[in-house]
Amino acid sequence: MNIQTDNRPGTDVEPPPQATPASPQSWSSDLGATLRRLSWGPWGRIGFVVPGLILIILFFVLPFTFGSIFAFVDWTSYREELRWAGFDNFRLIGELGVLSHAVKVTAIFAFAVMVIQNFVSLSLAVALQKSSKINSVFRTLFFIPVLMSPLAAGYIWSAILRPEGPLNQLISIVVPGEFDYAWLGHETSALLSVAAIESWKWSGLVTLVYIAGLNGVPTSVLEAAKIDGASAWQRFWRVKFPLMAPAFTFNVVVSLVGSLSAFDVIMSTTNGGPGNATSVLNVALYQQYSQGFFGTSSAISLVVTLLVLCTAVPLVAWLRRREVSM
């Protein structure tokens, strides 16, 4: 009854409640459906959805659709008219070596963030799972970077990681001799360093999601495992970890997908350098845009979107299948 009514909202008439034939068996569902129809009416629902939906259509759906078109249009700030370009934009950034390099850098960056962030956060969550006064102090402390602007986090860490900076000063205390490695000056260490900064910024939030997941594991199951003689290590990997899989799925997907569109931290630390070692897709996009190449930057933007979709959809499907249902 309910579904039927909902499928044809335009044909709804508003009958008085008595007009509904109430057979004894379906009395309650009929009444509920009638009530719902009465109270909402065909337009009531739409009135509640439309204001938000207009914003989403104008500023998400429409740009998304246009973006897929602009990626194939020859559009620069140097010429007035737009021209259909087929795959020319992709060919152009492909030949310049921008595309494949940026995709590679972005993929490595995202993977590194995912690993560092989840390793740090899962360890912290295990250490801080129980609610106690001291644990809530630590949780509060580790959450502070989440509030920082990623740009600001980038400035702080680019100073810390300078050759003469405090990190190398600390290392010099432990390691004999003058230690002055330029963390952001070498290609590999720069990419891993910006990934670590991005992880630093978000790990407080990821930790809280893991704590929520750990708290969702029923104590009865854990006690049963304990009685059966499972060690703490076994209890974690064989019982807790499979049962908190939804939190793991969420965190892995969010950290991967989120860092595929990273921008702020890199702009304030390396600005894509040294050379273009940390020039992820969004940085390449900004470089194309600021030179006035709107067609090629749309092409890069489309690549980011495709990368996100091609990562998220199979990953969610795969991780979901591994989740244990209680």
Partner: protein, 283 residues
């Protein structure tokens, strides 16, 4: 004897745990922030050494005054507040209104609209076409254009969290209110809105962090200094001296840019922590 040993081993273990946590917290959080604050108090020459040491000459007033006067801070603060507060309010209200309908309906068209909204959480905004749409609307480079774009791209998270939250609650109270003759808006205002407060609070926390710190979209949509939000003001101030960072001033700007959110966090800290650990994020 064995009980005493067990108790002793638990105490040892918890001491080890807290020591490790404290050491990690020192390196991961305390030292970076100490470094940030102490260097924002130094003179330019002192700060260029990049040490963790106490300032030899205090230059607090000068540094912070320079940031307030030349760093575009006050203008950025006004712009950021002017943009963040109405956007947040609109997104929370419009998002929860739509979420109520999505949660209580099976219509295929509404399901489609719901999934389109949720997709905006996952897919990053297409920035070049957004500029095109804003140009067509005559809103490119304006605060309202940026606010509308923020609202349209951030509403998905509210819809996602609140729809999930409402679906877990049976519709009896709303139906009872309808029987008693309450209007649609009355039911939303007096029953649904108070009911979804926990989910809205979590959404508000995530969104205020997200909108206050947004740099990517505001760099494209509001690049002019007069309209710059705080992150863009910070970026422009720091980039103004590209090769010789005046760390004392950059750090003072960093602190001032982040202080509004940190103050909010101090006030709501306990609710933020409990809201986020109760699993509202994972649904």
């Amino acid at each position: 004897m064995s009980t005493r040993q067990a108790v002793a081993s638990i105490t040892v273990r918890s001491t080890v745990r807290i020591t490790l946590l404290a050491a990690f917290g020192l390196l991961w959080i305390a030292l970076p922030f100490w470094f940030l604050v102490v260097n924002s108090f130094k003179t330019e020459g002192d700060a260029s050494v990049l040490s963790l040491a106490w300032p030899s000459t205090w230059n607090v007033v000068d540094n912070y005054r320079t940031v307030l006067e030349d760093g575009g801070y006050l203008r950025g603060l006004v712009n950021s507040l002017w943009i963040a507060i109405p956007t947040l309010a609109a997104v929370l209200i419009l998002g929860s209104m739509a979420a109520w309908v999505y949660a209580r309906s099976n219509a295929r068209s509404l399901k489609f609209a719901y999934y389109a909204s949720i997709l905006s959480v996952l897919i990053p905004p297409a920035i070049i076409p957004t500029i095109f749409v804003l140009q067509e609307l005559g809103l490119n480079g304006t605060r309202s254009g940026y606010m509308l774009t923020l609202a349209g791209t951030r509403m998905g998270i509210v819809i996602f969290l609140v729809t999930g939250f409402i679906r877990a609650i049976p519709p009896h109270i709303e139906e009872a209110a309808f029987i008693d003759g309450a209007s649609r808006f009355g039911v939303y205002r007096y029953i649904v809105l108070p009911m979804v407060k926990p989910a809205l609070f979590v959404a508000a926390v995530l969104l205020s962090i997200n909108t206050w710190n947004d740099f990517f979209m505001s760099l494209y949509l509001l690049p002019e200094p007069e309209r710059a939000t705080l992150p863009v003001a910070l970026f422009q101030f720091a980039s103004a001296t590209e090769y010789t960072f005046r760390w004392n001033l950059v750090f003072a700007h960093v602190i001032l840019t982040n202080i509004p959110l940190l103050l909010m966090y101090v006030v709501f800290q306990r609710r933020v922590m409990s809201g986020l650990t109760e699993g509202a994020v994972t649904g």
